[in-house]
Amino acid sequence: MQGEPLLKIENLVKHFNVRLGAFGERGATVHALDDVNFEIIEGETLSLVGESGCGKSTTGFTILNLHQATSGKVIYKGENIATFDDKAMRPLRRDLQIVFQDPYSTLNPRMTIGEAVGEPILFHKLCTKAELPDRINRLLTDVGLPPRFAGRYPHELSGGQRQRVAIARALACEPKFIVCDEAISALDVSIQAQIINLLLDLQEKYGLTYLFIAHDLAVVRHISDRVGVMYLGRLAELATREQLFANPLHPYTQALLSAVPEADPVLEKTRQRQVLQGDVPSPLNPPTGCRFHTRCPIAQEVCAQTIPEWRQIEPGHMVACHMVPGGLHA
């Protein structure tokens, strides 16, 4: 991927301290995100995939400083925004927006659609009160909703329509970067396709950069320029879409791709699946060495002892695995 990085994520770590036991007598640390490094390039769609609890959403939240990073840097316009407080973040929120998964709980039920979409515009003082209705109309048209919806309440809308409102709200302050946190996961297949097309259209129209967090690999393949695969709080592999789907290197990526069902009964009957055994270990007590070694079909001794280095295999193709050529055990 050519172009300037919009955001640089360096050694990002996020740990949550939790209290366990019936009376909270035991302290423990959830290793939600450990030593994550990547760049987001202006105008691209970078997707993060992985199973629940792998830290993909935490990555999105921490980049936007909605979670305070435990350590590491998020560099935007030459500054490390991971250390900014709420007040310092406020002007940046215009540029950095998010669309959440659940369109039912992200909209205030007592606010009309127009009020919800207009709120960020007024907050950032992007136009006068007189211009506001016009602006709201334009945003609603942008996301494919009739302007008369401005007077309606969220409960009058379907899930797909609500997600359109959430997108309009994120667009309201003309952002550069939008985190789509499972933004299409809660929608039905036919509606999902509508929203994906909408996101692609808006990207083209406004030159947006997306961090697309999802677990559906077929969707990810469809919309991404680059894809990062996460496992238990670490990046396992990051590559362009073509590289990742044609030549997955990490055994976890391979297993993940092989677990996705294909809408083709003839192919499915002959396909050899590589089914992973067991469950994802707890992030409270992640495995030593490579975090995937407990489920990895090709793990060796070294995998349980040493954390694999995050290294480049070919231009643009990063992987963390000892067994890939150039690693400790290959």
Partner: protein
């Protein structure tokens, strides 16, 4: 349709003209409108549809588990020679969890949180099979091993919260299978699970189906998931079956515009990525505001006047055969060809 049963294999479950209504403030609204469905012995049927199409309610109604305001208005559901919808409660209790096993979507809310999983698996065994507790525990251990839970004997004493989501779903399946049911109804059993765990569960059900020779109804919204899993697919839209065909036939030759739209809107892994997905415009009708004719007509690009006036019947494509579709246009196109 009755004339077409020909050399048909034995039907284990035969649902005819099932209609379900919900009480709303504006009066009763039809959610499921005269569904005909059947499951043959040893067959796996996939029921596909989007949220609100009535796929779960149809199956819940068979077990008479509908919520308060929702009622069966008409129809019959013949299971092994008896009507599930009219049989006495004591008869029904023998069917539920006995001859018919049920696996629900969300294992966290369908397992009893304060009961050890061993006791929950033993319950149907003691009730239906009149087993002694000690024997039931042995059988429960076997069941847990069957569904692939490691060290099953120790796991019997675990509480649901001590298990992961995939493990809990396996426990649900073990309960569904406990009494060697003739029919297992699985309502979106993998929706809450990750893909790698989903693959494990799908493989498990495939394997058990062969091993135990049971029929399975798999309810889902995910067409890709059932492609390699079921023998036949019924596609539901707004409470009606719009297409019903053997799985290869359905994917090779989808005939209802809704099925085509649904298939086209799934991005495929094996595709060279195209830039835009084809999508179906609009949204399904709300219950109580069903259109007069074909329920899909308002979203259908091929809709004609007749589609807006009368409901197309579910009829074999081209007059005979197992591929049935409820669409005037598709039927006529085939005649013309």
């Amino acid at each position: 349709m009755n004339a077409m049963t020909m050399s048909a294999p034995e039907r284990l479950l035969d649902v005819k003209g099932l209609s379900i209504e919900i009480d709303t403030r504006r009066g009763p609204a039809t959610i499921v409108d005269g569904i005909n469905l059947h499951v043959n012995k040893g067959e796996t049927l996939g029921i596909v549809g989007e949220s609100g199409c009535g796929k779960s309610l149809t199956m819940l109604s068979l077990m008479r588990l509908l919520p308060n305001k929702i009622k069966v208005k008409s129809g019959t559901a013949n299971f092994a020679g008896r009507d599930l919808l009219t049989m006495s409660k004591s008869e029904l209790r023998k069917v539920r969890g006995g001859q018919v096993g049920f696996v629900f979507q969300d294992p966290m809310t369908s397992l009893n949180p304060v009961m050890r999983i061993g006791d929950q698996i033993c319950e149907p065994l003691i009730y239906h099979k009149a087993m002694k507790r000690a024997d039931a525990r042995i059988r429960a251990t076997e069941l847990l091993r069957l569904v692939g839970i490691p060290s099953p004997a120790e796991r019997l004493d675990a509480f649901p919260h001590e298990l992961s989501g995939g493990m809990r779903q396996r426990v649900m399946i073990a309960i569904g299978l406990a009494c060697d049911p003739e029919l297992l109804i699985a309502d979106e059993p993998t929706t809450a699970l990750d893909v790698t765990i989903q693959a494990q569960i799908v493989d498990l059900v495939k394997e058990l189906r062969v091993k135990l020779g049971m029929s399975v109804v798999w309810i889902t919204h995910d067409l890709a998931l059932i492609a390699g899993l079921v023998d036949r697919v019924a596609v539901l839209y707004a409470g009606t079956v719009v297409e019903d065909a053997p799985v290869e036939e359905l994917f090779a030759n989808p005939s209802h515009p809704y099925t085509r739209g649904l298939l086209a809107s799934i991005p495929k892994l094996s595709d060279v990525a195209a830039n835009r997905l084809s999508s179906i415009g609009g949204t399904p009708p709300e219950p109580g505001r069903r259109p007069l004719g074909c329920p899909f007509a308002p979203r259908c690009q091929l809709a004609e006047d007749i589609c807006r006036q009368s409901v197309p019947p579910l009829e074999p494509l081209g007059g005979s055969g197992p591929h049935r579709v409820a669409c005037f246009v598709a039927q006529r196109q085939l005649e013309a060809a």
